[in-house]
């Protein structure tokens, strides 16, 4: 009994593990204090640990440390007993600290929290710490959502995601959580201001542009006035940095909400043309011009000969000069447009 884990611990000393140096300190989860094994704790003396059974020929073994094996042997033991107690809750904390990706431990923890009627505000604090330590872990965010649902109170969620964004403003988990909280608790009041702030900090933050689209779609919707306002906002952002895919993409997304077409929104063509005349040749500008012309050719067959010629010139310049990495793509677009709009 218990030999499987011990074998693995022995093997780690002889097998060079893939790519990473093994850290042989055994202080995981102990916050720098001396680790006391569960098997040596008086309050756990009534429990017989249950070892992991990996079978005789396990593959992809993990070189567990002794404290890890100890914690998980006791975790298995309380699961087998179906124990839903304060000490089991405490044990899940150690188990999570050692591996926050173990979703079954989180599930067990929720079962205990429910059973004990534990203080969920305290749980939110624990969860926040875990999120700050593991901001890209799916389990911590899921746990957060469940606890917030139980509490029916989303008032701390925007602040939490903002803490995470201060480290990584593009963290997908945090954006997903924020959108969920905004939708569930209707917290949109200051959302566009927050997006503005992020875009001021980094106009290339594509997640913030996406959030702008989300917020508007959930609040005012893309009315005629809003579209006009957003077009002006985006044009100003492009004026700051022309070679930035995010606002160009947003602009395309916004004008698609118009009845009609791309070209029906104000003076976009003239605005592009002016930038181009001033010597701007960002691929994003050229691509947008292509889209405007394609749209025009769809609707006005008489303009096709003139516009097609212009389109093919742009494709050529993208393929040979301004966007050579995508030359095969631009060649394809050249063929595609010629086929659709040629004589």
């Amino acid at each position: 009994m218990g030999s499987t884990a011990n074998n693995i611990t022995t093997e780690e000393n002889t097998t060079q593990a893939p790519g990473e140096e093994h850290d042989d300190s055994l202080d995981d989860g102990s916050d720098g204090e001396a680790w006391v094994f569960y098997r040596e704790r008086k309050e756990w003396a009534d429990i017989t640990p249950v070892p992991q059974d990996d079978g005789p020929h396990a593959v992809v073994k993990i070189a567990y440390t002794d404290p890890f094996t100890d914690v998980y042997d006791y975790l298995r033991a309380v699961v087998v007993k179906g124990e839903l107690s304060e000490r089991a809750l405490y044990l899940t904390e150690d188990a999570i600290n050692m591996n926050a990706a173990n979703y079954t431990v989180w599930q067990y923890r929720r079962k205990i929290l429910r059973h004990l009627g534990s203080d969920l505000e305290q749980e939110l604090n624990f969860c926040r710490e875990m999120i700050e330590m593991n901001p890209k872990n799916y389990q911590v965010w899921h746990h957060r959502r469940v606890i917030v649902e139980w509490l029916g109170d989303g008032s701390k969620e925007l602040k939490l995601t903002e803490i995470i964004f201060s480290q990584d403003a593009k963290n997908y988990h945090a954006w997903e959580h924020r959108q969920w909280a905004l939708k569930t608790f209707k917290l949109y009041d200051r959302e566009l201001d927050y997006v503005d702030l992020l875009l001021e900090e980094d106009v290339r933050n594509n997640s913030a542009w996406n959030q702008r689209h989300f917020t508007i779609s959930q609040t005012t919707g893309f009315t005629k006035e809003v579209i006009q306002r957003e077009v002006e906002y985006t044009k100003a952002a492009i004026a700051k940095v022309v070679d930035n895919e995010s606002p160009w993409s947003y602009l395309r997304g916004v004008v698609q909400h118009c009845e009609g077409s791309l070209a029906s929104v104000g003076d976009l063509w003239e605005w592009c043309q002016k930038m181009h005349d001033e010597g701007q040749c960002s691929p994003h500008l050229l691509t947008f011009m292509l889209d405007l012309m394609e749209d025009r050719m769809e609707r006005q067959p008489d303009l096709r000969p003139t516009l097609l010629k212009r389109c093919l010139e742009i494709c050529e310049s993208l393929a040979t000069k301004y966007d050579r990495i995508r030359r095969e793509y631009w060649r394809y677009i050249e063929r595609n447009l010629s086929h659709r709009f040629g004589a």
């Binding site: 693995i8 780690e12 060079q16 593990a17 893939p18 790519g19 990473e20 093994h22 992991q52 059974d53 079978g55 020929h57 396990a58 593959v59 992809v60 993990i62 070189a63 567990y64 440390t65 890890f68 998980y72 699961v79 087998v80 007993k81 179906g82 839903l84 050692m98 926050a100 990706a101 173990n102 979703y103 079954t104 599930q107 067990y108 079962k111 872990n137 965010w141 899921h142 469940v146 997908y172 290339r204 933050n205 594509n206 997640s207 996406n210 689209h213 989300f214 779609s217 895919e245 995010s246 993409s249 947003y250 698609q256 691509t287 990495i325 995508r326 030359r327 095969e328 793509y329 394809y332």
Partner: protein, 360 residues
């Protein structure tokens, strides 16, 4: 691009995957509940490198047995079957033998990604899937679909998104039984996840993402719904978004993010399914992926000069395989196994349809 030409270090990567099959360092402990996925990366990686012959017959059989040992074998009760499928590791597996209490059966559940990677690994090893509890696996998949069409990963509670929908589609394709999926709501979920950028996020309103777009398009392909679901304009915009992900040679997952090895597969395979892979600068992409190799330990990392891991090593190599270079076996972009392994699966499908006594 720097003038340096990188070589593909095949032998080192074979050794890297061999080591993954044996033992991972404690720093990889976050994979403790997804060891099955690491196994699949290593096996499929060895397969693409034509290195499976390194495993002798006995070793293969041991691996097959280990995979089956992680299958949950429920009774005929529908609720129990909903918790079936394959586990990713043995954290709680030994609890089942010790007790039949509710806590054990609720926590020791199958996981949809582990079920997909278990089945894929079995196919790669040439197994005939005869020990797969088909009705239970199907009940497990069916129980995980949400009303909005997306999927949870496990019965015990999890997030729901596009990743698990892909796993469901792959499982159903492998077992040739789509009855567990409501394809109408699944397709609707996928289309609702298409953002204004023209590609898919993990769900409605979320930022378009290379990984989600792969899961979405591969799912539609596996369900046979790709052509009927996307309009010509949607397809053109998606192709453009995918092609625009090439940045400095490598592929990024989202606009204005650094290129990352794994998107060589996620973006490359999506383009391959859409018949548009050639629009990338494949030579530059290959050089980027090769620049993330670790010349000492083998393996590939997310970025150049970083530590390799199983996921990036495998996805980098399967991404290279799409490019038909470096003597790699060709990979099937939708199931992410070699075309040779897929042929074996297709043979199994034929045998099953010939032999009507085999329960499906």
């Amino acid at each position: 691009m720097s003038g340096r030409e990188y070589l593909f270090l095949r032998a080192r990567h074979v050794k890297y995957f061999r080591r993954c099959l044996q033992v991972l360092p404690f720093t990889s402990v976050t994979y403790d509940t997804s060891r099955m996925a690491v196994l699949y990366f290593a096996l499929s990686g060895l397969d693409l490198l034509d290195g499976l012959s390194e495993l002798d017959k006995e070793e293969r059989q041991h691996i097959i047995n280990w995979i089956y040992s992680l299958q949950i074998l429920p009774g005929n009760d529908r609720d129990e079957q909903a918790c079936a499928g394959f586990r990713g590791g043995t954290t709680l597996a030994s609890c089942r033998g010790e007790s039949s209490c509710d806590t054990v059966s609720q926590l020791d559940c199958g996981h949809i990604t582990m079920t997909y990677t278990a089945l894929a690994s079995l196919i790669i090893l040439g197994d005939d899937l005869s020990r797969v509890e088909r009705p239970a696996v199907m009940a497990h998949v069916a129980a995980l679909q949400c009303p909005d069409g997306s999927f949870f990963s496990t019965r015990g509670g999890s997030e729901n998104d596009m990743r698990f929908m892909y796993c469901a589609a792959a499982i159903c394709y492998i077992l040739q039984d789509f009855s567990a999926i409501n394809t109408t709501s699944a397709t609707k979920y996928i289309l609702n996840s298409m953002s204004y950028e023209g590609a898919m996020g993990q769900g409605t309103h979320l930022e378009a993402h290379g990984g989600s777009s792969y899961c979405a398009i591969a799912t539609l392909h596996l369900l046979g719904k790709l052509d009927s679901s996307l309009s010509r304009t949607q397809r053109e915009r998606l192709v453009r978004w995918l092609v625009e992900r090439q940045s400095g040679g490598g592929l990024q997952g989202r606009p204005n993010k650094p290129p990352d090895t794994c998107y060589a597969f996620w973006i490359g395979a999506t383009l391959q399914i859409l018949g548009a892979l050639d629009y990338l600068d494949t030579a530059a992409l290959r050089q980027f992926v090769l620049s993330t190799q670790d010349p000492i330990t083998g393996g590939l990392a997310k970025y150049p000069n970083s530590n390799p891991d199983g996921l990036h090593t495998y996805l980098g190599i399967s991404g290279l395989s799409l490019l038909r270079k470096d003597n790699l076996k060709p990979v099937d972009p939708a199931l992410n196994i070699s075309q040779q392994a897929l042929s074996h699966l297709h043979q199994l499908h034929k045998n099953i349809s010939k032999n009507s006594t085999v329960p499906c």
